[in-house]
């Protein structure tokens, strides 16, 4: 159990060090996923299997895929073919594969070897987490939902493409500002007098 924790911790630190020093964003993402997997193994070892699953599904699944999509969106251009040939070299994916293989072996070992003998480890079940989450922390759940909604609206607002009509409108506003001699205070004064 302890040796599993130390191996996973070493892999996490190693993969994070490599991840923040890579030049290529996709390579760094590979190592970052390995780091998150290692942290998930650590969660499993210290008695939080539910959080290990959540870490895999949300962090390594959803958030990293989001990163990957953005990297792919930004990477369109003449570099695409060159990047493609770079990806297929075995040196790129060999080390992430080795680290992931160590993690898989460790997880198999832990599930086969340690699961029958229930030690002093207190495993927090999803039921306990749910009771705590919707009991004393219900207001936190509401706040988290509010945060997620604002994140959704913000991402939609920032991520949309500026349509041609809006560009014309902003250009018109700029022209009006230029006509009024850059005087921002009086830029819209004729509009208010017209409305009155």
């Amino acid at each position: 159990m302890l040796i599993a924790f130390y191996i996973a911790a070493a892999i996490a630190v190693l993969a994070t060090i490599v991840a923040i020093t890579r030049r290529h964003a996709v390579h760094a993402l590979l190592y970052l996923i390995i780091s998150l997997l290692a942290v998930a193994v650590v969660f499993y070892v210290i008695g939080a299997p539910f959080l290990a699953a959540l870490e895999l599904i949300i962090y390594a699944g959803a958030i990293m895929v989001l990163f990957l999509f953005v990297v792919m969106m930004l990477n369109v251009g003449d570099h695409a073919m060159e990047v493609e040939t770079t990806w297929l070299r075995p040196g790129v994916w060999a080390w992430p594969s080795v680290l992931a293989a160590i993690l898989i072996g460790e997880l198999t070992f832990v599930t086969i070897r340690v699961a029958p003998s229930t030690g002093p480890l207190h495993v927090v079940t999803p039921k306990e987490i749910g009771i705590a989450l919707f009991g004393p922390y219900a207001i936190g759940v509401e706040l988290a939902s509010l945060l997620l909604t604002s994140g959704l609206v913000g991402a939609y607002h920032l991520g949309r493409r500026v349509s041609r009509e809006e560009e014309r409108t902003s250009a018109g506003t700029d022209a009006a500002r230029a006509e009024s001699g850059g005087d921002l205070v009086r830029a819209g004064s004729d509009r208010t007098s017209h409305a009155a």
Partner: protein, 94 residues
């Protein structure tokens, strides 16, 4: 276990301070949030209480919201400037 959390947090901080690519900045923030969550789970393990794991759930939700907004900002930034260098952001006029 707390040592691991501290090391991971320090690595994220180093990445945040040294890298100038905006994608790497966001990734470093992710590493730091993950380390903070690991510290909470370590506390939950130490006292055998589910509260720390609930806190990790909240950190997870916050990380998801932060990443979506941050990546949208990054896309918008990339549309204005052809580079992802965060130093060029200081030349924006607001």
């Amino acid at each position: 276990m707390l040592n691991l959390a501290v090391i991971l947090f320090a690595l994220g901080l180093i990445g945040l301070l040294t890298r100038r690519n905006l994608i790497f900045t966001l990734m470093s923030v992710e590493v730091m949030l993950n380390a903070a969550g690991l510290a909470f789970v370590a506390g939950s393990y130490r006292w055998g209480h589910p509260d720390g794991q609930v806190m990790f759930l909240f950190i997870l939700a916050m990380a998801a919201a932060e990443v979506s907004v941050g990546l949208a900002l990054l896309l918008q930034f990339h549309r204005r400037e052809p580079t992802l260098d965060s130093d060029t952001a200081s030349e924006m006029k607001g």
